[in-house]
Symmetry: C2
Subunit: 588 residues, 2 copies
């Protein structure tokens, strides 16, 4: 019995959290595997048919994407439409105490997982992180029911399930990037307003369990050499990756990303509302709802067709490759005789940037990067309006990295030889700029600071800590004055029942005086007011529903309030038709 | 006027936080410089006199330490005794809403800064981090007064100054280790129970400003090569620093550190209470209060005398060197022909471990490490009882690192050739064990998870993320079941007016039934009880101060409660001396 009690008091929560972590790691691993195979399937098919005819290749390329998206949409539509979209806005709402039971059902879980695998397998610009937060939360919620046996009803404890859901959110983010610390902080920032430090460890423990299993699984599946690698491991030197003189440029990146992030949120909201309100769009797409995904999937996949426009935009490549190219520790724009050119810094076997610079260096990376960004910016927004499970974090991350790389290459072109200090040459490292841009843009769109920590864990390095922190803070500051975060924006669009945020405090609030938001002069009724005064007050202020009542006109001492209805009845009794008849009768 | 308003609403808080960061960076930089010079001064003096006579060298060595400690103690005693000790327990109390004004005065600031410089200059095992949190909080508090002009009184706003103080704490930790993220999280964990996410950015912004200035200052003072280095930069490869098979060993380190950390907190409290309560200690040390620092300083500095015992314990070296040796990426115990031996991995110019292994490798590093740890364990506790400003974090960090290194060297000895997987050799890296040990022991003593983040920032690497997280979580779990954190322990010792923590939740609480903490059978008075029953109840339950009153003995429906006093007066009136006399008189 002592053992049983020990189990109940001490061990059970740990086991529960460990289980949550392990399940999520297994799910994440399995889904990653399926997604990778789906994505590779498209390339294999393409390679198979492209020798025969371009049109055939095009049809196969586009058909594959459209097919997967359609399947995903059908799956989401018929199994559980709650699976559509990111899931973070809904979790945010649920964690504020609103009960949205259908969002946490097994049905939603299946719909979300199958749909997400299919939609990510299509290779459209979508992310895994938001939906995975949703998946982890459903798993946590179902586990709570299983372990504790209570199936709702009066024994359901709100604060307990809240704690478990919060741990679920943390694990969801942590799994996606194998970033246990950043994941916990991100989920706290995104979902909570106040946060209990005593429950801090839950998220960390579950996320660590998840990361442990994930890495062990990876070790047994992939070759030993990549056992314990960060997601997009960078290989900058531990010291001197930037000069203090570059810090203002990083601050500028933060500033621009702040504005661009707000624009992204704004355009996303306008697009969604346009599709919902526009007469033609409504008629076509809501009646034949499968038309919209077909249309958008065809459009986006056509743009990325490798033989067409795709060759300027890494059409054949997926996020993981693109990100590695953005973060690489060399300068794309460096001529081959420069010691910091990519040819000299990397071995070509594991690395290829020819779709940015052309096979013979015949495209300018500035042009390809600029085109990629502007196209990708709108495609990400379009893709996020599809009725399939999809996240927004990863596309935003790629966009930010592309922007940072562009700026970095620009600065590098200004100082191609680096800066000599003492006997050390400091090269401008566009890869660091890409990391900074990715963090700043994500920070601006999601309104989080902890994205910086996620970036450190994703790249596995901390040498770029200071530039990243500076840019993220500035981007956050700018973005939070201009637009809500993408998640709050979606909450607004979806009209979810959500308590608004407590605004950020500034010292202004502490010095605000009541007179600043009171009106004056105040309309009031005095004990010695005449009936005429009362009538005038009632008529002049139609919208005031209760009048303050004061002792007399000199002292103005408040004695209470009186409602418009009471006053009206009183005035009616004194001056109304009946009263006048009575008075007339008396006088006759 | 619009500009003025913009300044008031948007910019002022940012300027305030930036200013706080910059001031703290400058203070930290200046103090580091002074401390370094004081420590080097001792070595120079020692080198100057040691050729003449050992006794002279000993006297100079010990005299220097005793002198500095005495100066520090006198300074703390006469300027402001509030400066003594760490400061974190006091800040924790203040942030919970207790007003301890004298802890935030300019006088305390001066006393703490001068005292801290002197005591750290002496080279005793003390840390800078706790006192620096205190210093930063005083600066934040004084800045608030300056910027906002309110000098207390009714316009003082508690929540505003609380926010500013919290930012101050964050900057204090961040400055000490140039760890902006870990610093913010650590200060949140240590000082707060609930934490507003909307004020998250304050700490990050101030800490980032501080880190920026600190690094710029460092660039101009030291050579360019070390511009932007982490505090104790490690140089493990980014991948494969550990095998999944090693994870259980790391978990074991966490477990042991959890127990050792609790022991540390327990012994620290016993020592302080012994000194306060023991008759002889009280008589001697409280009457002649300068005797105690002289005694302890002499004792500790004698042990570290380089020609005596000190040569086995790195007596000549300071923390920064010791830490670098613990974290170094090679095995001390490896024979010179092993490719992972320190001779093969590092250049001897910047590195020297001969005081651990002997000039010719004639000491076993296992013995020196074990001796170092056990001696250092008690010396750290002793040093922390001195009446000078001193922190506990750094000594604990060193202790943990030494323990980790010891375990790591042990494991290395078992597998000196490493583990061959594919065509890659995985060496056991004792340096990783040292990092893990340092984090786990610190986590156990301070009850924080964020110490893991501080460790990543201190070492500038993330490759050891998983082992560190696992060990820190386990150490935390064990320690929090055994002892309070060192800071809570000091709060208890000092009897600071502190609201207790809300306990960690486990799902048990949500399933607890009222019957589990109610007593049965319940003593009660019924409306139909006889006076005899009432009297019996009163006599049998002397400690119950109020009795439940029920409708009748069958229904047991509660109608209210009645106090012992009322019942006693009633029984007295019916059965007391007076009543009996009255009855007797009546019957006569």
């Amino acid at each position: 019995d002592t053992i049983k009690n020990f189990f109940r008091t001490v061990i059970r929560d740990w086991i529960f959290l460990a289980l949550l972590g392990f399940i999520m790691a297994a799910l994440s691993f399995g889904m990653d595997y399926a997604i990778l195979n789906l994505q590779n399937g498209q390339m294999s098919l393409f390679d198979l048919v492209s020798p025969y005819h371009v049109t055939l290749a095009y049809l196969v390329w586009v058909g594959y994407v459209v097919g997967l998206i359609l399947l995903s949409a059908v799956c989401a539509h018929y199994i559980a439409p709650q699976a559509i979209g990111s899931g973070i806005p809904e979790m945010k709402t649920i964690l504020r105490g609103v009960i949205l039971k259908e969002y946490l059902s097994v049905r939603t879980l299946i719909s979300k997982m199958v749909g997400l695998t299919l939609s990510l397998g299509s290779g459209l610009p979508m992310g895994k992180e938001g939906p995975f937060v949703h998946v982890a939360s459903v798993v946590a919620s179902q586990l709570t029911r299983l372990v504790h046996g209570s199936s709702g009803g009066i024994f359901e404890n709100e604060s307990r399930s809240g704690e478990m859901l919060a741990a679920g959110c943390a694990v969801g983010v942590a799994c996606t990037f194998s970033a246990p610390i950043g994941g916990v902080l991100f989920s706290i920032e995104v979902t909570s307003v106040y946060f209990a430090v005593r429950n801090y460890w839950r998220g960390f423990f579950a996320a660590t369990c998840s990361a442990t299993l994930f890495r062990i699984l990876k070790m047994f599946s992939v070759s030993a050499a990549v056992t314990v690698e960060a997601h997009y491991q960078t290989n900058f030197p531990p010291q001197n990756v930037f000069l203090p003189q570059e810090l203002p440029i990083f601050a500028l990146i933060g500033l621009i990303c702040g504005f661009a992030g707000s624009l992204f949120v704004y355009l996303h909201r306008r697009t969604v509302l346009f599709l919902r309100r526009n007469f033609i769009a409504k008629m076509i797409f809501q009646k034949y709802w499968l038309l919209y995904p077909i249309f958008i999937a065809t459009f986006i996949s056509s743009l990325s067709f490798p033989i067409g426009l795709g060759k300027f935009m890494g059409g054949q490549e997926r996020f993981s490759h693109t990100m590695k190219e953005f973060f690489v520790n060399c300068a794309w724009s460096a001529p081959t005789n420069n010691s910091y050119s990519c040819g000299n810094m990397t071995s070509s076997s594991d690395f290829d940037i020819t779709h940015w610079t052309g096979e013979t260096g015949n495209y300018s990376p500035f042009v390809t990067l600029a085109v990629f960004q502007s196209v990708y910016f709108f495609l990400s927004i379009l893709a996020s309006t599809l009725p399939v499970p999809s996240g927004i974090f990863m596309p935003v991350f790629v966009l930010g990295a592309a922007f940072g790389r562009l700026v970095g290459e620009g600065v590098f072109t200004l100082y191609p030889g680096g800066y000599l200090s003492g006997d050390i040459i400091f090269f401008i490292r566009p890869g660091v700029y890409a990391v900074v841009g990715a963090a700043a843009f994500c920070g601006a769109v999601t309104h989080t600071v902890s994205v910086a920590v996620i970036v450190f864990e994703i790249t596995g390095q901390l040498c770029h800590l200071l530039p990243v922190m500076i840019a993220v803070l500035i981007a956050n500051a700018v973005a939070s004055y201009l637009q809500p975060s993408i998640y709050d924006s979606i909450i607004r669009i979806k009209n979810l029942p959500y308590l608004p945020d407590i605004p950020h405090t500034t010292s202004l609030y502490h010095q605000m005086l009541i007179e600043q938001f009171m009106i004056s002069p105040v309309v009031f009724i005095a004990k010695d007011s005449t009936i005429g005064d009362v009538k005038k007050s009632l008529e002049s202020k139609k919208r005031i529903r209760a009048f303050p009542l004061v002792e007399n006109l000199e002292s103005l001492a408040l004695v209470g309030s009186i409602s418009r209805g009471q006053l009206q009845r009183y005035v009616e009794a004194q001056l109304g038709t009946k009263a006048r008849f009575a008075e007339a009768t008396r006088r006759v």
